[in-house]
């Protein structure tokens, strides 16, 4: 856990659900809010989120209605100077299989460096929640050490993802075997902001985006390791057609013992203007697939109020149904002194409105 890095846990969103109703009605009601962390009765002590009973057993279930009580990973928020992360279970999955890590440190010269890692556990594999947590923690710790020792961010990112892959691979031998399921596996996306540049690395379909303050010029920085992305890349399908296919979200790259070969992608980006780099799992981007659509829901003040922006995005995804776990990390950026006049990289997917002309 990245506890030694000076980050702190935020207080849970206050929420009181003391109810006199029968548990059944509460259980059936479809929630739209992010998950509460702990609900405390007026007199103190936890209260069941299902029926309001004030008796929670040692295993974390209500002694009256049996409902599982919120677990720490159901909703997590961490905010540091320079990087913020929020993760939520959503409403359709019973546990949060996403994990994230955010950390801040400094380069040997004293300039600040921040790191964010977001991982999405593969549900069809065994113990996906452990895989994502292990990968996020391992990559984050690796990056912190590398940055502190002055390593070049890009090779450090590559090595950090390989270290995370190794850790997830080891997990396969550390827990109970489920013969009918695959080895623990997860995706990873990570961003480093240091020395005026943002370095992004990823495996799988968790994404990174760049949203300048004015939003024009929003772009996706990653290309999914997914069936749909492959189809589009190979020119076999239009993007809309590919993403409408049932196989669209089948990932073609992941961390895990059964991954044929882990090939981390990395890209380095010098922000041309002030804005935010956002990394997230598909629990968020599923609802706003393009950079333009997602950029439209990212709060305008995301750079100055990154925690509120991340909370807001999680809330929006929950309102849309919260079909998957949702994890968002936000890295506010200023215009980079290294920024040359903007040139789209081959990975960039610039969004141009009708008639809009981009200044190059």
């Amino acid at each position: 856990m990245p506890g030694a890095t000076g980050d702190f846990l935020l207080a849970a969103p206050a929420q009181l659900l003391v109810s006199e109703e029968e548990p059944e009605s509460e259980l059936d009601h479809a929630p739209t809010e992010p998950n509460p962390v702990v609900v405390i009765a007026p007199g103190g002590g936890p209260v069941c989120v299902g029926c309001g009973a004030q008796r929670i057993d040692a295993d974390g279930y209500c002694e009256a209605c049996g409902r599982a009580q919120p677990r720490p990973r159901d909703h997590q928020e961490r905010a540091l100077a320079g990087v913020t992360g929020v993760s939520d279970r959503g409403h359709r999955h019973h546990r949060n299989e996403d994990a994230f890590a955010v950390a801040a440190t400094s380069r040997p010269g004293g300039s600040p460096a921040v790191v964010a890692v977001v991982c999405d556990g593969v549900s069809s594999a065994t113990r996906p929640d452990e895989a994502s947590q292990a990968a996020a923690d391992t990559a984050s710790e690796y990056l912190l050490e590398a940055l502190e020792s002055g390593a070049d961010p890009k090779p450090a990112m590559h090595a950090a993802i390989m270290a995370a892959a190794q850790r997830v691979e080891e997990l396969a031998n550390e827990g109970p075997l489920e013969p009918s399921r695959n080895s623990p596996a997860c995706t990873i996306v990570s961003a480093i902001a240091a020395d005026g540049e943002v370095t992004v690395g990823w495996v799988g379909d968790s994404r990174a985006y760049w949203f300048p303050d004015e939003r024009a010029g929003s772009e996706r920085l990653t290309v999914d390791d997914s069936w749909a992305a492959r189809m589009v890349e190979a020119g076999l399908m239009e993007e809309a057609e590919a993403y409408a296919d049932a196989r669209a979200h089948a990932i073609t790259g992941w961390l895990g013992a059964d991954a044929v070969e882990v090939e981390p992608h990395t890209t380095v980006f010098a922000p041309p203007s002030a804005g935010v780099v956002l990394i997230c799992t598909d629990g968020l981007w599923n609802y706003w697939e393009s950079a333009a659509d997602l950029g439209a829901v990212v709060p305008a003040d995301a750079r100055t109020r990154p925690l509120e922006a991340a909370q807001e995005l999680v809330r929006f995804a929950c309102e849309r149904g919260g079909h998957d776990n949702i994890t968002v990390a936000v890295l506010p950026c200023l215009a980079s002194p290294l920024s040359t006049p903007y040139t789209p990289t081959e990975l960039s997917l610039p969004v141009l409105g009708a008639g809009e002309k981009r200044e190059i």
């Binding site: 029968e22 548990p23 259980l27 295993d59 409902r67 599982a68 409403h91 919260g322």
Partner: protein, 448 residues
């Protein structure tokens, strides 16, 4: 895990096997609960280590032997019964309290007499065997009176916690109103356990099963009286291996949930649903009797209120409890049965291999019982179809013992399809053996 203060008591482990994933709207949760008791110091086998007798064994046994007139026809039955009782007496451990009762239309104490239990040692065992000459056939059969007598004898030593009966009969309970027998069973159940044996083929399976079920024991046929001695010895050794009595399976369910059934499914099928005793808010105890070093499986089926996809609830908390002298109960071990609603169809449609297996074993027992019942009514078509299904289930699940018993009653044409023909001239002994042992199950085959 909880530890009892007394030595030589087994440790209980509870393992839950289930697929906790439910489809949207689904309400039924099924789980197999494997309870394993280990480390009791004895296992009921002859080679078992002797227990520490410092405090004397905490066990009593009463052997009830049918001495109705029919035991003399043929007379090798009563001779075999005497020999078997002698073999059982030899297997009684030093210090165990015991008695022998002769059962007819009334119950007579054969040994030691005077409404007492004897304490086993070389001398008392010899005396008891000598007294077996007094097991002479004459009179009728009223099993309720035998059970009442056993109850009285156990009551003379209320300090003893493990109380077990062995009951042998060769005929129907002809000299007693079935309601009287039922009343006796209602009164004595929970006070002692008992294994029942029918010798020959003139006794009634349902009747003896009702008794053994009520008294949480086994029922079996000894078609040939020559086999009685071995069987009695084995039963007594099994009884001597018991270390803790009055263990109950406690099932807690949440508000608005209901227990649909609780069945023992291994080593035999035994529906315990009707035996529930409320033991607290939303909790009930199901008696399991005495335990030595052994393992049993239970199938628990719970109906829960349906919840939204993404919800998780505790559908049941299953614990093993044992009463304490001060009136409280001690929890020996426990496991959790969960329900998780998901829209992942692959997850929710997967049936737990253990649940599937024991559902099949319970169906197998039912198919045999229904098939034999149909055969008695002369409905050969129905009987053939039921036993065909039984053959199929026994074959699929690898229940070889039951398959062999079935093959003595029907010709198996195709075990996979369950195609069978009733054999001509099936012996009464084979029919009764099949039906009596229909509830014997096998455990889940290990997956490779």
């Amino acid at each position: 895990m909880a530890r009892l203060a007394k030595s030589n008591l087994p440790q209980f482990a509870v393992d839950i096997f289930q697929n906790e994933y439910l489809a949207e709207g689904a309400r039924e949760v099924n789980a197999i609960v494997t309870v394993t008791a280990t480390g009791g110091g004895t296992s009921g086998s002859v080679s078992a280590q002797p227990v520490n007798f410092a405090d004397g064994p905490d066990a009593a046994v009463v052997i009830m032997v049918d001495c109705s007139g029919s035991m003399d026809y043929p007379s090798d039955k009563i001779r075999a019964a005497r020999e078997a009782t002698a073999a059982a007496i030899d297997a009684v451990r030093d210090g165990v309290a015991f008695a022998v009762v002769a059962g007819t239309h009334e119950a007579k104490e054969v040994y030691p007499g005077g409404g007492q239990l004897a304490v086993a040692h070389a001398g008392s065992r010899e005396e008891a065997k000598q007294s077996l000459r007094r097991l002479t056939p004459s009179g009728g059969t009223a099993i309720g009176t035998w059970l009442s007598k056993a109850e009285q004898l156990f009551h003379s030593r209320r300090d003893i916690s493990i109380r077990h009966g062995i009951l042998l009969t060769d005929g129907r309970n002809e000299h007693e109103n079935p309601n009287d027998l039922q009343r006796t069973l209602d009164r004595v159940q929970g006070h002692f356990t008992a294994d029942c044996r029918g010798v020959g083929t003139d006794w009634e399976i349902q009747e003896l099963r009702r008794i053994s079920s009520a008294l949480l024991g086994t029922v079996d046929i000894v078609a040939d009286p020559a086999g009685l001695a071995d069987d009695f010895r084995a039963m007594m050794e099994n009884a001597m291996g018991k270390e803790v009595a009055d263990v109950a399976l406690r099932v807690w369910t949440p508000a608005n949930a209901a227990v649909k059934f609780v069945k023992q499914v291994a080593p035999t099928v035994e529906d315990l649903s009707g035996r529930r005793k409320e033991s607290g808010p939303r909790a009930g105890d199901y008696p399991t009797g005495s335990w030595g070093d052994e393992s049993r499986d239970y199938h628990v089926c719970i109906e829960v209120p349906s919840a939204a996809v993404g919800s998780e609830m505790l559908a049941g908390r299953i614990s093993l409890v044992v009463p304490q002298p001060d009136g409280t109960t001690e929890v020996l071990s426990q496991g959790l049965v969960k329900a998780v609603w998901t829209d992942d169809i692959a997850a929710s449609t997967k049936i737990s291999p253990q649940v599937a297996h024991y559902t099949g074993q319970a169906d197998l027992a039912k198919a045999i019982q229904e098939g034999m019942e149909a055969h008695r009514r002369g409905d050969v078509d129905n009987a053939t179809s039921k036993l065909g299904k039984a053959v199929q289930l026994a074959h699929e699940s690898g229940n070889e013992d039951t398959f062999r018993l079935l093959a003595k009653v029907v010709d198996v044409v195709d075990p996979k399809e369950g195609t069978v023909r009733f054999r001509k001239n099936v012996s009464e002994a084979d029919s009764m053996t099949l039906e009596t042992r229909s509830t014997k199950t096998v455990r889940v085959k290990k997956t490779p």
